[in-house]
Symmetry: C2
Subunit: 382 residues, 2 copies
């Protein structure tokens, strides 16, 4: 009975979108297996070709303004002592994913690791020793098959909330994000169109803030209502689900994504990842990065411009200075006058500032003055 | 305009409950100030009496089955070199809280720290150097005034999601937790009756799981629908908002709180805090602890009983063993045969097990077999 119900309500059923998506992924998985089988029966050594996810194979596509993975690949062979284990791990995970698709279920990265983990019969060898071995194999499958992890029916941690002038449909449930109280809608890990559809949206932009505490302050002041927008946070560095949802809001609904992050190297790095992607996920940039994302604040000039008190200053340590210089040298910041000035001002200030510091003025200074004024003046970094 | 709207929609307006609550808190704040003023004008040294939040002043109330704060207090005097700064910090925070109540706004712990932080005029001394100085002063005020932090209009990080057979009202918005898709309702930091009211609830119990990834698995299988319950997680050690909401569901709606946590000292500790409270928040136990909470699993016996594979074992290290023995010696576990057996079995196993490990069986084993069977057999630890 339990089983029946859970299958009946499975998210993968009923939606033409998800059926089509799953068929595509399945075909790719079967092609992969066929290729290996063909080689084997043809008397050749079974092998896979895996795109290289290294810094040296990461390319800054200045035209598209995103980080992308290059063409370099490496071989993974069964009859090679150094590669045999990874070859088998890859095939094992591929078969588990096939099972998940057949079942119409999704699973966490850790759950897939446990599903795959067992002692190879007749030996004392485990298929996987820990999750650190398992996650990269799943990324190998993503890049080899050219599909999203989400399309492999695998989810990760969820973090981040959303509220604002939009109605979403999530697995058939209509969610009015204008009526989500103080708690908000918890952004899921998988936000593909097969799971989440946008219905009615009056919002003119998205304000993405770094921390949940800042989000709570903005939500309490109903910033999203006063300024006709959507308000999101990603609990620090936003997880893939949040980044992908922001990208979909940007691409499908043409909403500008405006970021309010701390004035420190960590805030700048979060912005960089939202905008251009990251080296480790360069193969997903085209589905995660938002080259148009804007950095509204906190800006290094604010200390003077907003006449802030000394209390907001947090001294930069050696590591902060080192990180700031590294970020200034990123190819997309390197030739960018605005960003060079921004980071240099922060370095010559010698201190960092957090969004919460703006509370030093008055409780709602940031929601009622700072952000609305900057928005009106279109005063941001791109 | 922005200001007007944010005031109009302020959560503190319109609700008789929150007005009454705020008046009570204000009276206590004013009484505190009056007391200090009276002493001062009476020619005595200004001083405050602060209840001691130390381990030695924490009492295990075996009858109520919660940890509570004892009667010991310490003086805080203005004309005492060691106490003058803390005395002034306490008065400063009291005045900021008064301001928040007057404004009808809430703020984060960090926001309040920034609001209070400034250089004392004519000196080079800051009121606060960092947040570690500020948070304990706010706790001092909580215990001195006998009010919740939430009643002081202060919130902390939010973490955790909820879905299930209940309708809530959150700041006037009706939230049908049966129709929250894959994302769920994000549990806020402040969940007092002035903010959140329970409306319609068919659920017969709450299943609280440790991690968001486990929660996602259960939600995908619609466990809450099949088993008529509410499903929550707290992202590891649940924050106060989640604990308080679970307690309200338990006390007001009489729902049993059933916990599904890892079989390791960390899982046992999470359960202990949910059930009995913690030393650091002993003064809040009566509003946070749930002495009736049940521990459904994962149990040390499961390795044999569920015929699990060796792959689920995670070796215990020296620190795990030490922690397990410390927890076994907690007064509420010490005389408890079931818990002594549980921890001893784990120690003699020599390994820990995670909820995700149950996926090794089949994807929905935990949602469709393990938990329903244990519930039916009422097989849990109390």
């Amino acid at each position: 009975m339990a089983k029946k119900t859970s299958k009946k309500e499975s998210p993968q059923r009923g939606s033409a979108l998800s059926k089509e998506r799953d068929e595509k992924t399945l075909k790719k998985l079967i092609d992969l297996a066929d290729e290996v089988a063909k080689k084997t029966f043809g008397g050749k050594d079974p092998r896979l070709e895996i795109p290289l996810r290294t810094k040296s194979n990461t390319i800054w596509e200045s035209k598209k303004r995103i980080l992308q993975m290059g063409d370099a690949t490496s071989d993974r062979e069964l009859f090679n002592l150094n590669q045999a284990k990874q070859f088998m791990q890859t095939m094992l995970h591929a078969s588990i994913i096939r099972g998940l698709i057949d079942e119409g279920k999704t699973h966490s990265l850790r759950g897939v690791y446990y599903k795959a983990k067992h002692t190879v019969s007749g030996t004392k060898e485990n298929t996987f020793e820990d999750q650190d071995e398992s996650d990269p194999i799943l990324e190998d499958l993503e890049v080899s098959l050219g599909v999203l992890r989400e399309e492999l029916h695998i989810f990760a941690s969820k973090r981040g909330d959303l509220v604002g002038n939009i109605t979403l449909v999530d697995k058939g449930d209509e969610i009015d994000c204008r009526r989500m109280g103080s708690g908000g809608y918890g952004i899921p890990s998988i936000v593909e169109p097969s799971v989440i559809q946008f219905k009615k949206c009056e919002a003119k932009f998205v304000l993405h803030v770094e921390k949940d505490t800042v989000w709570q302050r903005f939500n309490e002041d109903r910033f999203w209502e006063v300024n006709n927008c959507i308000l999101t946070h990603g609990g620090g560095q936003p997880p893939r689900g949040v980044r992908r949802l922001l990208q979909r809001l940007n691409q499908e609904l043409k909403l500008p994504i405006i970021c309010l992050l701390d004035c420190d190297p960590w805030g700048h790095y979060i912005y960089s990842v939202i905008k251009q992607g990251s080296i480790s996920l360069a193969f997903e940039s085209s589905r995660l990065a938002i080259p148009d994302a804007k950095f509204l604040g906190v800006r290094a000039k604010d200390y003077k411009e907003c006449d802030l008190s000394d209390a907001v200053k947090i001294d930069m340590n050696d590591n902060d200075v080192k990180r700031a210089k590294e970020i200034a040298a990123y190819p997309w910041f390197e030739g960018h006058k605005g960003w060079q000035r921004e980071i240099n001002t922060m370095l010559s200030n010698g201190f960092k500032m957090e969004v919460e510091a703006l509370a030093n003025e008055h409780t709602s200074y940031v929601t009622e003055e700072y952000v609305p004024q900057r928005l009106k003046a279109r005063d941001w970094l791109e």
